[in-house]
């Protein structure tokens, strides 16, 4: 935003010049909202341009398959994460068995592993030439593939399993918070009325927690729609894969935009589901009587089952992939280092840090602007703009590439005509394009966190500060920012880690001689070179663990506090806020 106007307006003795005063908040909010909405609008516009016979070809051939696979994938991952997330949340919240306290936070850790990384690892383990099938052949003396049956990991089922294993923590986190929030009274009432623990779970606890779980599952499904790395690697024809295919293999941007617009309809349904879930949340505090949950003491055999049920997702979702990558890395770390590992790491850190910084600044700006009061259409536009996390990266990538390309060439054309000087490419093919993509996609995280943080600060504070003569900016700086430091730091971290993991947009928008850890891992793994890239994959996982640890600490604190009534409501809240925003 380069303002070059510095008119000598009314000056005070201490200021040499002042800028024309503008309504920073209203104009800024509008500008940010429009800029962020632009890529999506561009895609919709592009979809209206003719794509020749591509659309007919898609309808005749792959469209049905894309829809069917996308729906199956979403339903599969939705059901899988629902069962694992809700089940484990219930077990660790309500039952007492050895290891429960560890599982309370350990169940979150698979969240640190990007779906594409786990997909690469399990393919290496489970494909025909992998160690597991090799062992089976050695033990039983099989010679070829026809001698025995083994499931194909590169398949829809494989993709569902991979995504379920790393996405269930979203549901777990929300379900657990909901179970903790529930008044034990309703459960006691249920038990008193003669219902067993299972019936109480299905008839009372689950319906009460439904809104939170619905939010969790819809977040998971958004992640599923966004995934590119896994479906690309497994050759599962989903919408995201189809968009890339039509765009890059058939060279039809408008055909791809048409697919993308169809995909947006899925997104709208999901956002609706999520909103619906949140809306109902207000109604389920039926009793204010909250005290420590009694906890069912499990008998030894049942406790063993509970232990296994909790250990399995953690083992498969984190321990196995981390261990395999670790083994590879000890053998092949030199190859990763030789491939310019430090440069990629530097790129990843720089891009993610830059994007996190901008996202936080804009997020706080938007949230505070809404707090100051804006007209209803600005509010609506802002909320729309903050939907970025629901829009798959592939869709944003097309919009951004086309939009920035147009912008660059328009500016250049204008500058050539007016000044006879070429400005060249200002945005496309630079880190600005990819940073812009990150900010558009993850602004919702920072905006949501800032809004949540601000909502906890009473308006009396604003009143007091303003009465004492502070303007909005100074109030924000001196009152609100210090008070919401915690949520801002968390949000920055989440945005940062999500940017580190992000693949579809980075692949398309990065400058061309520019690898990040994610694109490097993707490129090597798709060339059957996972071991050589394992150190980089581990680095991404390692970065992802940091916010998970923070979340775990929040959970630990929530557990310690949930004996006191008032405390219970407060301590579970941060966890809830975090999860609604954790959308890598």
């Amino acid at each position: 935003m380069p303002h070059t106007v510095a008119s000598p307006g009314p000056t005070s003795a201490t200021r040499r010049f002042t800028l024309p005063t503008i309504d920073v908040w209203a104009v800024g909010t509008l500008a940010v909202a429009v800029a962020v909405a632009m890529p999506i609008l561009w895609v919709l516009g592009l979809a209206l341009t003719p794509s020749g016979d591509i659309w007919q070809h898609l309808v005749d051939t792959i469209l049905g398959r894309l829809v069917w696979n996308t729906v199956l994938l979403m339903v599969g991952v939705g059901v899988g994460t629902f069962v694992i997330g809700t089940g484990t949340a219930w077990i660790v919240t309500m039952c007492r068995f050895p290891g429960r306290r560890i599982f309370e936070w350990a169940l979150l850790i698979p969240m640190a592993v990007p779906a594409y990384v786990i997909a690469y690892v399990y393919t290496d383990l489970l494909e025909y030439s992998g160690p597991i099938q090799g062992l089976i052949r050695d033990v039983f003396g099989f010679e070829t593939r026809h001698d025995y049956a083994f499931f194909e990991i590169r398949s829809l089922g494989g993709a569902i399993t991979m995504m379920t294993l790393v996405l269930y923590p979203y549901v777990y986190l929300l379900a657990r918070a909901a179970f903790l929030e529930q008044s034990v009274c309703v459960l006691e009432a249920s038990r008193t009325l003669g219902k067993g623990p299972w019936t109480s779970f299905f008839k009372v606890a689950l319906p009460l927690a439904r809104p939170s779980i619905a939010v969790g599952v819809s977040l998971v499904m958004m992640e599923t729609l966004n995934d590119f790395g896994t479906v690309d690697f497994f050759a599962v024809p989903t919408f995201t894969a189809g968009i890339f295919d039509v765009w890059l293999n058939m060279n039809s941007p408008s055909g791809a935009a048409q697919l993308a617009s169809m995909l947006l309809m899925f997104v709208i349904v999901l956002v609706g589901l999520e909103r619906y879930g949140r809306r109902k949340q207000k109604f389920h505090h039926t009793s204010t009587h909250v005290r420590a949950l009694p906890g069912f003491q499990l008998s030894a055999p049942v406790a063993t089952l509970a232990f296994i049920a909790c250990a399995l997702p953690v083992t498969l979702g984190f321990i196995v992939p981390a261990w395999v990558l670790g083994m590879y890395a000890t053998d092949f770390y030199q190859d990763t280092l030789d491939a310019d590992f430090w440069t990629f790491t530097g790129h990843s850190l720089m891009l993610s840090g830059f994007a996190a910084l901008i996202a936080i600044v804009l997020g706080v700006f938007l949230a505070y602007s809404l707090r100051l009061g804006q007209t209803s259409w600005v509010r609506t536009l802002t909320r729309l703009a903050a939907l970025g996390y629901a829009v798959p990266g592939a869709v944003l990538a097309i919009g951004i590439l086309m939009y920035l390309g147009w912008l660059d060439n328009t500016i250049d054309g204008w500058s050539r005509e007016t000044f006879g000087v070429s400005t060249g490419l200002i945005f496309s093919g630079t880190v600005i394009a990819v940073t812009f993509g990150y900010v558009v996609r993850f602004l919702s995280l920072s905006f949501g966190s800032a809004e949540a943080g601000l909502s906890k600060i009473t308006a009396n504070m604003d009143g007091a500060a303003r009465t004492l003569g502070a303007g909005p900016m100074s109030t924000l700086k001196r009152v609100h920012l210090p008070m919401m430091q915690g949520s801002i730091m968390t949000a920055a971290l989440l945005v940062f880690v999500d940017c580190m993991k992000e693949l579809p947009m980075t692949v398309i928008l990065r400058p061309f001689d520019f690898e990040t850890l994610a694109t490097f891992v993707h490129q090597y793994a798709s060339d059957e070179l996972l071991p050589e890239a394992s150190l980089a994959a581990l680095t991404i996982v390692g970065a992802g663990i940091i916010p998970v640890i923070l979340l775990s600490l929040t959970i630990a604190r929530a557990r310690a506090g949930h004996t006191g009534q008032g405390q219970a409501a407060q301590t579970t809240e941060p966890a809830l806020i975090d999860l609604e925003e954790v959308a890598p």
Binding site: P2, W25, D60, A235, M250, G373, I426, T430
Partner: protein
């Protein structure tokens, strides 16, 4: 962003634009301007669909010889779309592709300009150059078949057509049907046998696959060695690369498990493709780009291609690598490459119609 005059009514939400923010904005702006400033003229910028390690030896040789600075940007996909969106401001001077159809798309989208060079015309035979001079081939490779030494009898597979025959049920491995190499192969079948028969053939191959198309060409040979399938489709130079891979000696074992077969020797010949080069319409360093391409067509560069990449040089008189020569001479399907280009779109769509990958 427009600048609004101060509105005295609502002092609440209105503030002067902080100077610190403006300073940051200006700093960022100037930083990007500097970043996008043009480099010096002794530069050739290359967008390459060919992997960096294949190009490196040539680039190094050229840089040493001329002192020029060649910057190669590699991507598997999306270079054309990038070039399109960059328009006249693209930094790219040269495009390198691994397949003729990839190059044809650049030409179809009007992104190239003719290469005016008598040297290239003299070095590269006419059938491997665009008639309008828009691109030139640099090397040739065959789409070969790799058969298991133990499980495939001599004479069992001698043509691409054999891949679709009943006796190959569950024995064929290949990479994605959407990969340019396979699209070009299908296009060559379409031009040889007609659309209808080609589709029947493609369905036959699909039915015979041992596993869903996946991995790269080398991975198919690995699958043959491990018994997952018996016949793999792959480019010829991989045989040489695997046989001599000291960095990954296990690949020598993969190669040792298979025979390389050049199919259709008794009729149209083995499908061949070229790696190609062109100059972008927006090239800022045209003269440098021509020089670079002339070098790539020279004895020296063609020799490097032959020796380090195991490809077939297009310039006459350049010797094959001894290893490549040991595979024997073969009859290439040398109908004009533009025929294959013409069938490219049909082939891409046919892969979808048949659902080859799924």
């Amino acid at each position: 962003m427009s600048v609004h005059p101060q509105n005295p009514k609502s002092t609440n939400a209105k503030r002067k634009f902080p100077r610190s923010m403006m300073a940051i904005g200006l700093a960022l702006f100037s930083a990007t301007t500097i970043a996008s400033a043009h480099a010096s003229d002794a530069v050739v910028n290359v967008y390459s669909y060919r992997q960096a390690f294949l190009i490196d030896p040539l680039v190094k040789a050229y840089e040493q010889k001329t002192g020029a600075n060649v910057k190669v940007v590699f991507a598997k996909k999306g270079l054309l779309q990038r070039l399109q969106s960059e328009g006249m401001n693209s930094p790219a001077d040269v495009v390198l592709t691994a397949d003729i159809n990839q190059m044809a798309e650049f030409e179809a989208e009007n992104l190239l300009q003719p290469i005016n060079s008598a040297t290239i015309t003299a070095n590269i035979p006419a059938q491997y150059r665009a008639p309008d001079g828009m691109w030139t081939g640099l090397t040739m490779r065959a789409r070969a078949l790799y058969t298991s030494k133990t499980r495939v009898k001599p004479g069992e597979v001698t043509t691409y057509e054999d891949l679709a025959k009943p006796h190959m049920k569950g024995r064929v491995c290949t990479r994605s049907g959407k990969h340019p190499y396979n699209v070009s192969l299908l296009a060559s079948v379409i031009t040889a046998k007609g659309e209808k028969d080609a589709e029947v053939w493609l369905r036959g191959v699909k039915d015979n696959l041992a596993r869903r198309p996946q991995g790269n060409d080398r991975a198919q040979v690995k699958a043959v060695m491990e018994g997952e399938c018996d016949v793999a489709v792959g480019n010829s130079y991989y045989f040489g690369m695997m046989s001599t891979n000291d960095k990954k000696p296990e690949q020598k074992e993969w190669a040792a498990a298979v025979n390389i077969i050049f199919p259709n020797q008794d009729d149209r010949g083995t499908h061949v493709n070229v790696s190609a080069a062109a100059i972008t319409k927006s090239a800022k360093h045209y003269a440098e780009a021509v020089k670079f391409l002339e070098f790539l067509s020279s004895d020296e560069a063609q020799g490097i291609y032959a020796a380090s990449n195991f490809e077939y040089p297009l310039k006459e008189g350049v010797a094959l690598d001894p290893l490549v020569a040991s595979w024997g001479m073969f009859k290439a399907d040398d109908r004009n490459l533009s025929e294959i280009v013409g069938a490219h779109t049909t082939a891409t769509k046919m892969m979808d119609t048949v659902g080859f990958d799924h």
